[in-house]
Amino acid sequence: MRKKFVSGVLGIVVALGLGAVIMLIEGFNPITTYSALFSYSLGGFYPLTTTLRNSVPLILTGLSASIAFASGPVNLGQPGQLLIGALFATVGGLYIHLPAPLMIPLLIILAMIGGALWSGIAALMRRFFSMDEFITTLMLNMIADFFTYWAISYPFFDKTAYSPMTPQIDKAGWLPEFGNFNTNILVMVLVFVAVWFIFTRFTAGYEWRLTGQNSIFARLGGCKIDKNYVTVMLLTGALAGLAGGLVVMAGPHRFLKGLGANYAWDGVMIAMVANNDLIGTLLYGLFFSSLQTGAVGMELITAVPSEFIQVLQSVIVLVIVAGRGMLDIVLDKTQIKRKARERTA
């Protein structure tokens, strides 16, 4: 655990250093840039709450990917599951009218059902036609993309709008906001804690993890790996769907074109950086959100374009993922040297 933390922090420092070098080459001042970046994402109530709010879809899709990858299924369908989840929550919010204490949980559940339905299709195709979820989830992303685009352009189109979007959902379905603090973060934290408990303390999570590490061992040990596979697919789909639902309920309160943005792919990236560790996913999710949130401010104050953040993110991913292997190699090497010296002495 400590090794992971050290390698993570080291990786980020090295990556920020490399980012600084790139800025210097481009002729920007790295110190003013970084201070602008972090003051607009962490310096004060407004920036901080914005960072938190933006982190929710990143963390939930990251959680979805982490759990899937750590348990075996290569669910890469988070983008599609997020969109379908968002659509389910939107449609529910358009046609169902209940008081807020009922409405909000209902829309949350609808979003999760939407996501689970989408990943469930992939799970069924694997079960009955032995189709690899690695392919089917990716293909279903395309279908979800165009299906939701059609849905917001025709059946649920807001007649008063000039571009594809739905009308706003019932106000009872809006997540409450206190100042700039959006309660989507509370929903995320609740779900995170629940999922963390299931994954690390429950029999089910134990079986998922051990199946992810060695499925033949788990099978011989009496784990029902086929059933577990379906459960993990449904759960991870539901998490990605929830991410979509919360985007609608916290933000524009409607489904508009480009709603999914890059959240889900960033989530997959976060899972990889965190090496499928749940706490790591949470921390990296917050960190990446702070970069993305601060990018706007950075662009405002300095001449560095906000696209630079994508470069920085990629550098961080490469440095941390490469560094993780590197650290092991270095540790091995020092161990070999020490042992070898003991022998010759």
Partner: protein, 514 residues
């Protein structure tokens, strides 16, 4: 005789903590057959791989013809004149012998076209020079394993190596083929080649070699002249103490039949009969050993019992309960299983020791869970791991460390502990001592014998005949998926079982037929 290779203070460490070579110094002379013997994991293969450039060394020096060398890969070693034949044969099946031999150093003509006439002439010249009985136009897939091995050797001779390293060359050969290989190796030696020969069959080594280097646990114990030593001395050096080839079983009357297989047949996807009408029973307090050359149905038998493959027909019964259609969890209530491959089937090596111990217990043992099986009790699991640690003498650091941090012997103790504490009436042990050192093997045998005294029914599959003779009450011989003999251990001998394993019938039978 002139020294051709000298290895000084060789060190090789496999992280995290395996010292495979511990300051090994030895020398090899020109024109000798030099055997390197030792148990599994003694470091004999590692020593050769370091010499050959397949593994980088972590310390020490290699002198070849008095020059310090450090080969980066096999290509450099071959170019310098050292070649190695591996246990598994690495030839292209669809190519002919001569094509395989010239591969990589083809004589080429205009525009890189292979000069076939020249190539065949060169290869034929080598075959004649060393009197190998090979037809250069045969395809590899059509010739025997022994012939393929010859092709591998010829391939190196064609590249003019002076030193040939052979890694357990007899392991893939039938008994009849071994003398021929030996006479060919002796001829090569007489032609001035140096042959380094890895083995753990002491009889072979004594028959063939001029000098013998004995290794144990990464250290060189001694290099001796073959004519000055004998099997007992070598065994003692290999193991580090006197080796007892005695059964330690106590007399015991077996109880009722616990485990039974009836008419079990399995036909695989290619319509090949892997198990052919297998009938078998194991009584309480009895150890039944299955002998057989690997690949004669052991794998399919184990998978059928465990529920990984569905046999075509037959019955599997434990205490009279039919398990043929039961799911794996149901079977595990009756069957404890130690697999032959710890890292593939027996454990999740990256998960913690505790998590490995919990497997199966988490479903069958109520004390491991709360809330009707939903929530795991990690505290109880840790206590349980502690119990295994004490009861089975496992030496472990923290039980939260990954399973792979344990040594092979300790891994096997943890697995045995987990399986035996399931308290099932029947134990299926598939090569439970594979890859373990002698101390651990003895310990595992003691545990198995103790389970026998506790009236468990035990089915032991082993490739090690001495092991079978040491602890089993009955020896069943499996040949081509069929049980060809069921013998009481006291009424048979190694020779008879060995013959049955290879031929599938008794020697006397064979004479009658002729």
């Amino acid at each position: 005789m002139e020294t051709i290779i000298e290895m000084k203070d060789m060190i090789k460490v496999f992280p995290p903590n395996v010292v495979a070579l511990d300051s090994v110094s030895t020398d090899f002379r020109k024109g000798e057959i030099h055997a390197i013997v030792g148990e599994n994991g003694a470091g004999k293969s590692t020593l050769m791989k370091v010499l050959y450039g397949l593994e980088p060394k972590n310390g020490g020096e290699i002198l070849f013809h008095g020059q310090s060398v450090n080969f980066k890969d096999a290509g450099e070693a071959i170019a310098a004149g050292i070649g190695m034949v591996h246990q598994e044969i690495l030839l292209i099946q669809e190519y002919t012998i001569w094509e395989n031999i010239i591969l990589g150093i083809e004589p080429v003509g205009f525009l890189g076209r292979i000069n076939r006439v020249q190539a065949r002439k060169n290869v034929q010249a080598k075959i004649d020079e060393f009197k190998f009985n090979l037809n250069l136009d045969d395809k590899i897939e059509d010739i025997s394993v022994a012939a393929r091995q010859k092709v591998e050797i010829l391939k190196l001779l064609y590249r003019n190596v002076e030193v040939l390293i052979l890694d357990e060359p007899t392991a893939v050969l039938t008994p009849q083929e071994i003398p021929q290989l030996f006479s060919e190796l002796q001829r090569l030696r007489d032609n001035g080649k140096t042959i380094l020969f890895i083995s753990h069959h002491l009889d072979e080594v004594l028959a063939l070699s001029d000098r013998i280097t004995v290794m144990r646990k990464g250290k060189k114990i001694a290099t001796v002249e073959a004519r000055d030593t004998n099997k007992e001395d070598l065994a003692k050096m290999m193991v580090g103490r006197d080796v007892l080839f005695l059964s330690k079983r106590e007399a015991k009357q077996p109880g009722a039949v616990v485990f039974a297989i009836k008419a079990l047949t399995y036909i695989d996807g290619n319509k090949r009969k892997r198990l052919d009408d297998v009938n078998l029973q194991v009584k309480a307090g009895e150890i039944v050993g299955i002998a057989g050359v690997e690949g004669n149905g052991q794998f399919e038998l184990v998978n059928s019992i465990m529920g990984l493959t569905r046999p075509t027909s037959g019955q599997i019964l434990v205490n009279g309960k039919e398990l043929i259609a039961a799911d794996i969890l149901e079977r595990r209530k009756f069957v404890s299983f130690v697999s032959q491959d710890r890292s593939k089937m027996g454990a999740a090596v990256k998960a913690s020791i505790t998590e490995n111990v919990m497997m199966t217990h988490h479903r069958l043992n109520k004390q491991f869970t709360h809330w009707n099986g939903a929530l795991l009790d990690y505290r109880y699991s840790r206590q349980f791991t502690r119990k295994i640690e004490e009861q089975f003498g496992v030496s472990m650091g923290s039980m939260d460390n990954p399973f792979k941090s344990l040594s092979g012997g300790n891994q096997q103790k943890v697995i045995l502990g987990r399986e035996l504490l399931l308290d099932t009436p029947f134990l299926l042990l598939d090569q439970p001592t594979r890859g373990l050192d002698v101390g651990s093997i003895e310990y595992v045998h003691e545990i198995i014998l103790k389970m026998r005294m506790q009236d468990r029914a035990i089915l032991l599959i082993s490739a090690d005949l001495e092991e079978l003779f040491r602890i089993s009450d009955h020896i069943v011989v499996l040949n081509r998926g069929k049980i060809v003999a069921d013998l009481a251990t006291e009424k048979t001998n190694l020779e008879q079982v060995g013959y049955l394993m290879l031929e599938g019938k008794d020697k006397e039978d064979a004479k009658e037929i002729r």
